[in-house]
């Protein structure tokens, strides 16, 4: 295991870079996912169709292909940003579709009577959604949304292969091939890094689930 201990600083750097990819993508995909979910349930038909198109596209395309488009396609069209930006963008686009579906299934799980009651009080669509349905949906949304986000944390490893560099995944690649360490210990180190992230997130999610659990 000296491959890990000798290069602990490289691992720590990689871990922190991965964390920053994750944090940016977390914010991005939550915002975008909520927007898409709102347009999918809105009364405006073109928005609904656009939302459906978005979800169908990004849910059925491999993340790798989305990232190829971001890292090589967009610059080809004259958009030049850092690979970090493109990596996070790809991850956000991809994850937003899953966030949207998790939120939408949450909205659908709120008993119809709740929305009907809100409407009978004269609340508009946005009031009904924002003040009655979403707060209740949030509770049922937590478990599926949590697992969508944890999946995104794991998917951040794929971003490393698209020129971002320096994240946990690329650290492994650099150590094995350029510095000639054996693959097994190096990638056990990488795996531990990701496990720290996902297991912590999983534990936090459970605490959160218990907090918002409904006693219906």
């Amino acid at each position: 295991m000296e491959a890990v201990t000798e290069n602990l600083d490289a691992y720590v750097d990689g871990f922190l870079t991965s964390l920053s990819i994750i944090l940016w993508s977390l914010v991005g995909s939550l915002v975008l996912g909520l927007l898409i979910a709102a347009s999918r349930v809105s009364p405006v038909p073109p928005l609904r169709r656009f939302g459906l198109f978005w979800v169908t596209t990004f849910r059925n395309t491999p993340l790798t292909v989305v990232l190829v488009f971001c890292a090589f396609g967009l610059p080809e069209l004259g958009f030049n940003r850092s690979f970090f930006f493109f990596g996070v963008l790809g991850l956000v686009l991809y994850t937003s579709a899953f966030v949207c579906e998790a939120v939408r299934s949450g909205i659908n799980s709120v008993p119809a009577g709740q929305a009907e009651a809100a409407r009978s009080l004269g609340l508009t669509f946005s009031q009904c959604l924002g003040q009655v349905v979403l707060p209740q949906a949030l509770r049922t949304v937590v478990p599926p949304l949590g697992s969508v986000l944890i999946a995104m944390f794991k998917n951040s490893a794929v971003v490393g292969a698209f020129g971002v560099g320096g994240d946990l995944w690329s650290t492994g690649a650099t150590l094995t091939s350029a510095r000639g360490y054996e693959t097994l210990p190096v990638y056990i180190g990488v795996a531990i890094g990701y496990l720290i992230i996902t297991l912590t997130a999983g534990a936090l999610l459970q605490v959160l689930e218990r907090k918002v659990a409904i006693a219906r």
Partner: protein
Amino acid sequence: MSEQSVLYDAQGPRARRRTRIGTVVALVVIAALAFLAVRRLIDREQFSMERWGPLIDPGNEAFDAVWRLIGTGIVNTLTAAAVAMVLSIVLGTLIAVARLSLGRPGRIPLIGLVELCRGLPVVVLVYFGVRVLDDVGVDLSGLPGGQVLWGLILALTVYNMVIFAEVVRAGVNSLPRGQREAALATGMTNGQAMRLVLLPQAFRVMLPAIISQLVVVLKDTSLVAFIANYDELLSQGESIQRNLDNPIQTFFVIALIYVAINYTLSKLAEYIQRRQGRAGRSTVQETDDTELVAVRDGA
């Protein structure tokens, strides 16, 4: 889609006008975005026949070679996904049955395994399957298809079997308790009850989830593209655009193929689920729906 949503009333004249305005605004915005995108594509000469010809013009001299590559890619992608799928269903069921029938001490290592496999990025597992196994001397090259294919299959299996174990467990637990009790009452052993009564019913309920998971597996096969050499769909796209220098066009076609395959599978899952819903399984279906979302998040 045309169904009345519970979120808003049947609209009166004013609301209809507002919706109409919203529709127009949305259409204008979407059209403007599409226009900008298309203009940019034209500016960059992305619609030239030089770039598209090999992909869409059967008269083009590269057309045959390109589609032969894509064809092999599709076959290889489907092969890896299908084999990994079958293996993960089998192993997943075994794990689930073990988890359901073992006592508390037996369960703990299983739960550990499940958490470990679920906590790792699939791409790391694929790396272990394809490169590390080889490095530590596990030789899979004797199997039909070779080392890389089986390394990939193994990695996808390890990742998905634990997800299936959870699906199967949820499926069995969702069955009415009377089912097992009745089976035991007719003199079946625990094993028989599981095999002959519980699992068949659970599988029926789980079928949509299984098909949805196939979509995830299919997408994950593309992860091998930057780890080792296996000619699946994405790798074939890379090698086409390396020769033709048309990344946007090639990957557009590749993406379209993925979407077409996966969309068909998703629709199939929905169709089966609807049919089951009609057969009066509404109680199970509700849990199943959230399960679906949770399960489809793979990558």
